[in-house]
């Protein structure tokens, strides 16, 4: 692969990194002098082992994995903070030099001084900062606190300031570590809006996070790290599913039926869940107005099972949007009693998706028809993103119709108490 290939933003070949973790604290000269024989008393931690991947310019890529899998180490090597032990990293484009918000902020300096200092770390020139200063302060809603010291700010104010400064960086490649971990829901919404903007602008973003939903919603592609090894590289939906499965398998091994996402008596189990679009493509991002089908394989594991049904919930941002329960819906999937070992497929179709752009997840459950006993329940069995080509704000497409009729005299009238207020009298009589 040629270095001049403009379409590659990041190229990583054979990257390895190990840490030497001292077994005892030896950061004094005395220790070095008195223990010079045992100078090599440390444990070697293979943080990253032979990592290979490429990121095309404009890609939005997520790095996931459990704690200690090496994802932050990888990000730090990509941003030149750590130096690799072996391998080659080629970066094509200007990299944002920060990993977290508010890097370089000093509590003893004022908001103004911090903007100039932290801005310099982000690569913004003085004249440029001068020009966009009001914009930064305005976006952070801190006009009255420009010359107050940062230590007197609330943490919310500080995060707002850091964020409105960070989004001014010009980098073509952005490395972000758990940006979403800070701030409240409205702040996270702001982050997502910025992600959308970056996407539109064709910037390359590498996002390290524990939030699988953020990865499925914003990244086309994800890397899964496990003990320093790259174990999966592919579409975000598949990789996050694999990661969830690996977590689920771990739970299975220990014979724990009820882990966080999956529980039930397992009299009937789901053998698989998938979502297809109208062309039968799996793991799709369906358009508003398109159709989707959820398919669920089952296997009966207990002869005593009588009739059972399937329930589907659609969630958006953790909130319930649709519940396809047995009641009051008259139509539902009813599977008659059958013997142990019999299998089949249940299908759930939405012919016309009313949702506007957003990320959704599907929870499914197999339950007894009469007692409602949970046989097998799985949260977030599927995650998908609805794409609205029109880019309309809001939640659903109503199919509403507008119309206007003219009339000679005003029609309808307010009840007295709701009548339009009289023009306000001047003065304070």
């Amino acid at each position: 692969m040629s270095f001049d290939d403009r379409r590659l933003a990041i190229q990583v070949e054979g990257l390895s990194k190990r840490f030497h973790i001292p077994l005892d604290h030896s950061s004094t000269l005395k220790h070095r002098v008195t223990h010079w024989r045992s100078a090599s008393r440390y444990r070697i931690l293979e943080a990253l082992l032979d990592i290979n991947f490429e990121v095309a310019a404009g890609e939005f890529i997520g790095i996931i994995g459990h704690n200690g899998s090496g994802k932050s180490t990888l990000l730090k090597i990509l941003s030149r903070i750590y130096h690799p032990d072996a391998g080659r990293v080629t970066i094509n484009g200007k990299v944002s030099p920060f990993l977290e918000l508010g890097v370089g902020f000093n509590p003893e300096l004022t908001a103004r001084e911090n903007i100039y200092l932290s801005g310099a770390i982000l690569g913004l020139g003085r004249s440029e900062l001068h020009r966009i200063f009001d914009e930064i302060i305005g976006f952070a809603e801190l006009e009255q606190f420009v010359d107050h010291k940062l230590k007197n700010f609330s943490s919310g104010m500080e995060v707002r300031l850091a964020f409105s400064l960070a989004i001014q960086a010009h980098a073509e490649i952005l490395m972000m570590d758990e940006v979403l971990a800070v701030g409240d829901a409205s702040f996270q919404q702001k982050c997502f809006d910025i992600f959308k903007r970056y996407k539109r602008e064709g910037r390359t973003v590498v996002l390290v996070t524990h939030s699988l939903s953020a990865v499925t919603l914003y990244c086309e592609r994800a890397l899964l790290l496990d003990h320093g090894r790259l174990v999966a590289d592919g579409p975000a939906i598949e990789v996050t599913a694999q990661y969830r499965r690996s977590l689920g398998l771990a739970a299975d091994d220990s014979r724990l039926v009820s882990d966080a996402d999956r529980w039930g008596s397992r009299d009937v189990v789901m053998t698989g869940v998938r979502m297809l679009d109208e062309r039968g493509v799996e793991d799709c991002n369906p358009p508003t107005g398109g159709s989707i089908r959820v398919e669920l394989g089952y296997e009966i594991q207990n002869d005593a099972v009588r009739d059972f049904t399937c329930v589907v919930w659609l969630m958006r941002d953790g909130g319930l949007v649709v519940s396809e329960d047995r009641f009051p819906v008259s139509q539902y999937a009813l599977v008659g009693a059958n013997q142990r070992g019999s299998t089949g497929t249940i299908r759930y179709d939405i012919p016309h998706l009313p949702f506007l752009e957003g990320g959704y997840s599907v929870n499914v459950e197999l339950q007894g028809r009469f007692d409602g006993a949970t046989y097998d329940h799985l949260d977030h069995a599927i995650r998908f993103r609805v794409i609205d080509k029109g880019g309309r704000p809001g939640l659903i497409e109503t199919g509403a119709v507008w119309s206007v009729t003219r009339s000679e005299a005003p029609v309808m009238s307010w009840p007295d108490q709701l009548a339009a207020p009289a023009p306000r009298a001047s003065g304070d009589g």
């Binding site: 070095r32 072996a86 200007k94």
Partner: protein
Amino acid sequence: MSAPADVRLPGSPAGSAAQLDSFRHYRHLTLELAISQFKLRYTQSVLGYLWSLLKPAMLFGITYFIFVDLFKINDGTQFYGMQVLLGIVMWTFFAECTASSMQAIAGSAGLIRKAYFPRSILVIAASLSSLFTFLINMLIVFAIAVALRQIDVGLRMLIVIPLLLELYMLTLGLSLFLASLHVQFHDVGHLWDVLMQLLFYGSGVMFSLTYVLQRLHMALGVGQTAHLQPHLAWIVELMCANPITQNIEDLRHALLAQQAPWTELVVTGHLAAVKQYAAVDAPWLLPVPFLVVVLVFTIGALTFRARARNFAESL
């Protein structure tokens, strides 16, 4: 088995503009860091910046009282008070700059672990913020000296510029060396405190070299032209090789020895005393302090470069 580690960044063929860009960025970052450190140094103090003037002034007051009023010491040179004042201002810069720059890396752990930029920027910024203070102090001392008619304003004052550059280069080289070691071994800080005490007396801050020689002669009871005992000659030679002695002596000589001919102004200040007494006839000592400066700077810069890539992990 594994290829050598390599990190490549935008730069090479079409990247000269980008390199210039990042140079500008880093220069800007250095200045911003220096400015904020300068501000932070005097934060939460009533007198603020005045302390940077008061500290050397107080040190001067104490020294002058003890040496001149109490012990009636005067090395016979003209304007002894001004000699000591110049020495103290220069020494204060050297001491404060190395002490604060040494902490520059270890004290910015958060920044180093979270953002990339050449690590030397932190040390350079710390040293620049000490340099601001030093230059302002120097201007004030100049003003006092001119007011007291101890310095003639003239072209020969320009000699101060290369001398200050030399002092800065020495200080920065040492700072880089100390800062890179301090990341792993905090002992360096304590060791340096002690070494500074030694250096303070070994650099002729309170007295000129002439005075040291005078005292040695008096103690030994030998004539002024006689050669020193070998082991004492060794001490004098060591003092002459010390770049701080050389720097202070040369600066005093350039500013205060108004009768000295031009030819003696440039680098001979530190040997003038030695030659005058013919105690140590060692012209080879002349370039040694400059070589020491170059050596210290090179070692400091190389040590720093070799260790810088591991700072983020070690902190």
